[in-house]
């Protein structure tokens, strides 16, 4: 479904991504792990078309070459990102944010049913529909962000650190939801620091360090991978 | 270093002979160039490093002219100039304290509004309190006297600009312009530094107005608070590059002469040509003349 090769990206002199390549099959949930600064967020932003990257990069998504495609068209194709910081419109209401999410080729005709779907997924949002997003708690905002991305009827949902800054109990709920999204057939690419939880819902995982992919494997195997412990705690504890 | 000073002094000295060489019209041109050079340089002092686009130039310039108009019959001229500087200083400090926390376009509009506000208030004062509108300045100055005074002021302005660039305050301002976070964390009092520079810049502008005023004989608010002065200053400084010591003057000379040439040769299509030139400048020289010359030179060297 998604394949990329030779994706390099630098901020000035700092090489954030160094010839990254990987694939993701339809229906798969893949998690990307790695310490802060390893380049995980940059990878997602590059895929979403929000960062300039090397000309040599090849990205294909559901058969289309999207490497030179502007960001808004990628969303139209079904590649949705929930970025770090959530990328919401804080001065707009929950309802408006969701409606904006449906602003895609696939999303518009299914606006109503998708709306019902995400409000069932996050019942809390139903009562808060008129509230301004900026006044909501972090967990609620994260719900809006995911719900908004789902409104676009994505084929692949990319999530950047969805559990960041959330209370542990909310994190639990969040991963429950992600699990049910996965069950609905949407592919997911997740960058996450919560290793345990994210691997719990993933099929496969990649480990990144300083802009390179240094390991990959099935979710069950990765948890016990010494590379992972090394990447996070600096030692195989 | 001393060589540079020598060059600078020599150039000023040379320019001081201009009234002997040029006839009145040439001198008039020189007066225009020098006064805009000072305005653009003073503007760049503050706006170059901080990137605040100020349209308040004419507020200070006009106040300078007005101080002279009000006092020219009662006080000795040097004293009037001193009062003009003082007025500009006080006004800029008051304005600065209030406005320097506004950023971007808000500051732009505020500074424009300021010039209009000052103009309206002076008008109101003149009409209701002093009962005159329009004042006469009869000072025994000819064009060359005004030119020499402006030349001295230009020397002072460039010296201040040079000194500030090489002083602790100048470095502080550059740091503020590049990154306010870093600035405050290395111990720079941002507000105080900005205020200081704003005040210096405004005082110089006030002086230009004060020195030029005797040339007009008759002054009223609509004459001395002409917003075009603010705009031209900005354009000239930006064209030359406000970050360089000699940037402003490199913008002033070609633009001033271009405007003069256009208005002399195409009086009926002046506006159209001026507008066109403006647009072209933005498209062709986005970073200013000096940058362009530099690039051209580097490009040449690379071959």
């Amino acid at each position: 479904m998604l394949s990329l090769s030779d994706l390099s990206l630098s901020y000035g002199k700092h090489l954030a991504l160094d010839k990254v390549s990987f694939q993701l099959a339809e229906g798969e949930t893949v998690v990307i792990l790695g310490a802060n600064g390893a380049g995980k967020s940059s990878l997602l932003k590059a895929l979403a078309g929000l960062e300039r990257y090397s000309d040599a990069a090849r990205i294909t998504f559901v058969g289309d070459d999207i490497a030179k495609m502007p960001a808004h068209k990628r969303v139209d194709l079904g590649l949705s990102l929930v970025p770090e910081g959530r990328g919401l419109f804080p001065a707009l209401s929950v309802e408006d944010n969701l409606l904006l999410g449906a602003n895609t080729r696939n999303g518009r005709p299914r606006e109503k049913e998708n709306r019902d779907y995400v409000l069932d997924l996050f019942p809390k949002l139903r009562v808060r529909a008129r509230q301004l997003v900026g006044t909501m708690s972090g967990g609620e905002q994260q719900m809006v962000a995911i719900a908004r991305a789902l409104m676009s009827a994505p084929k692949l949902l990319m999530l950047d650190e969805p559990s960041l800054g959330l209370a542990p109990i909310v994190v639990g709920e969040l991963f429950e939801t992600l699990k049910s999204i996965r069950a609905s057939g949407v592919s997911m690419l997740i960058v996450e620091q919560n290793v345990q939880a994210s691997l719990g819902i993933a099929d496969r995982g990649y480990i990144m360090e300083t802009g390179r992919i240094i390991g990959e494997g099935r979710a069950e195997d990765l948890l016990s991978d010494p590379n992972l412990q090394e990447a996070y705690l600096g030692t195989s504890a | 270093m001393s060589k540079k000073f020598g060059l600078f002094g020599g150039l000023l000295g040379l320019l001081a002979f201009a009234p002997l060489v040029f006839e009145d019209y040439g001198l008039g041109l020189m007066i225009g160039i020098v006064s805009y050079a000072i305005l653009a340089q003073a503007w760049s002092l503050f706006s170059g490093p901080t990137r605040y686009i100020s349209l308040a130039t004419v507020a200070f310039y006009g106040v300078g002219a007005y101080v002279v108009a009000v006092l020219n019959e009662d006080l000795a001229y040097p004293l009037i100039l001193l009062i003009a500087v003082g007025t500009g200083l006080v006004m800029s400090l008051a304005v600065g304290i209030a406005t320097l926390r506004l950023a971007g376009v808000y500051f732009v509009i505020f500074s424009f509004g300021l010039a209009e506000l000052v103009r309206q208030l002076i008008t109101w004062y003149e009409v209701n309190v002093s009962g005159t509108l329009g004042r006469y300045i009869f000072l025994p100055f000819e064009a060359r006297h005004i030119y020499w005074m402006l030349l001295v002021l230009a020397g002072v302005t460039f010296a201040i600009a040079w000194w500030i660039r090489n002083s602790r305050t100048g470095m502080a301002l550059r740091v503020i312009g590049e990154d306010e976070d870093v600035a405050s964390h290395v111990g720079i009092n941002i507000t105080r530094t900005k205020l200081l520079l704003f005040a210096i810049s405004a005082s110089l502008m006030t002086l230009v107005g004060a020195i030029q005023a005797p040339r007009w004989v008759y002054i009223e608010p609509s004459i001395v608070f002409n917003p075009t002065v603010s705009f031209l200053t900005v354009i000239m400084a930006l064209l030359g590059g406000p970050h360089r010591l000699l940037g402003p003057i490199c913008g002033v000379i070609p633009l001033f002469l271009l405007f003069e040439w256009l208005s002399a040769n195409f009086p009926n299509h002046y506006s159209i040509l001026l507008g066109g030139v403006f647009i072209l400048i933005v498209f062709l020289l986005p970073k200013g003349v000096l940058e362009f010359v530099d690039r051209f030179r580097l490009g040449g060297a690379a071959k």
């Binding site: 979403a48 502007p70 960001a71 808004h72 969303v75 139209d76 949705s80 990102l81 970025p83 990328g87 919401l88 419109f89 804080p90 001065a91 707009l92 409606l99 904006l100 999410g101 602003n103 895609t104 080729r105 999303g107 900026g134 676009s152 | 686009i53 926390r101 506004l102 971007g104 376009v105 808000y106 732009v108 509009i109 424009f112 509004g113 300021l114 209009e116 506000l117 309206q120 208030l121 109101w124 009409v127 209701n128 917003p227 705009f231 930006l238 009926n268 299509h269 002046y270 506006s271 159209i272 001026l274 507008g275 066109g276 030139v277 403006f278 647009i279 400048i281 933005v282 498209f283 986005p286």
Partner: protein
């Protein structure tokens, strides 16, 4: 006395609001600080003048001609002058400064063309210059019409912006342009359409204003300034805010004139603006950046 000032102020404010709506669109959504905005207003006024005096067209009818024409022209102006700057700003240019400079050039260009065609004369025609009684206050019908149009356009825009998908997209771009691509919005295209739409609104204001004000080729700057003040007072990109700010400005002028001193009306406009800017830099109804 009180009602008189109130009615006069509201009617006056309606004109200000009307003149500001387009700029709010252009600056709020497209991020173009259009200093030639007032020239668009004046060009429309001249166009109406020509239509009315040569073709004998009804000024209201010319609203339907001049508006769409302005949309097309503004659209073209954006393509030629603004789009390259927007593109450049992504590579480290400064859109705000560049747009100020370019539109300043445009201001002279348009003014020059008008001067060549029409000369520096005052232009005026008479339309609906009859008295209307409004709550016991006598006022010109053309001004009431202007007020009505301002209100209709303002509220119409508000409804459009508030309740349609296009409006929602505009708000999204005005509010967080960086996040807009995430929801499949083509920011460049929206900016261009908004600029053109803003140009159209400016033209509508020009048509209406020509019905009751004498104008010259060089009168545009005044409209730009008033519009800027209203836009910033109302909160950038906030249409309802612009409407209310315009009305406030009109009321302030009317009341200062009646109760303080007519000599201070313009000063009080600026003073209010300056004080407001210091008190709430994001405008009366602007959302502070969280």
């Amino acid at each position: 006395m009180l009602t008189t000032s109130l009615v006069i102020g509201l009617v006056l404010g309606g004109t200000y609001a009307l003149a500001a709506l387009g700029l709010t669109m252009q600056y709020g959504v497209s991020r173009i600080m259009n200093l030639a905005y007032g020239e668009f207003v004046i060009v429309a006024a001249f166009a109406t003048f020509v239509l009315v005096s040569t073709l004998g067209l009804d000024p209201l009818l010319s609203l339907l001609l001049v508006g769409p024409a302005a949309f097309v022209i503004s659209y073209a102006v954006y393509s030629v002058l603004m789009a390259p700057l927007v593109k450049r700003s992504r590579k480290g240019g400064n859109l705000e400064i560049d747009s100020i400079l370019v539109t300043f050039g445009l201001l002279f260009l348009i003014q020059g063309i008008l001067l060549v065609i029409f000369g520096a004369d005052f232009q005026s025609y008479s339309y609906l210059n009859v008295a209307v009684d409004l709550f016991g206050v006598t006022i010109a019908a053309n001004q009431v019409l202007a007020f009505g149009l301002a209100t209709v356009l303002g509220i119409g825009l508000f409804l459009l912006i508030r309740f349609t998908r296009w409006g929602l997209i505009l708000r999204a771009v005005a509010h967080r342009p960086d996040n807009a691509p995430l929801v499949a919005i083509n920011v460049d295209r929206v900016a261009q359409l908004a600029f053109a739409f803003g140009g159209m609104l400016a033209a509508q204001a020009g048509v209406v204003i020509s019905m009751f004000q004498t104008f010259t080729a060089t009168a545009g700057v005044v409209f730009t300034m008033k519009a800027l003040i209203v836009v910033i007072m109302g909160g950038v990109g906030n249409f309802l805010g612009a409407l209310i700010a315009g009305l406030i400005l009109g009321l302030v002028e009317a009341f200062v004139s009646a109760y303080l001193d007519p000599g201070l009306t313009l000063a009080s406009t600026y003073l209010i603006f300056l004080v407001l800017l210091l008190w709430r830099p994001q405008g009366l109804f602007g959302k502070s950046v969280s």
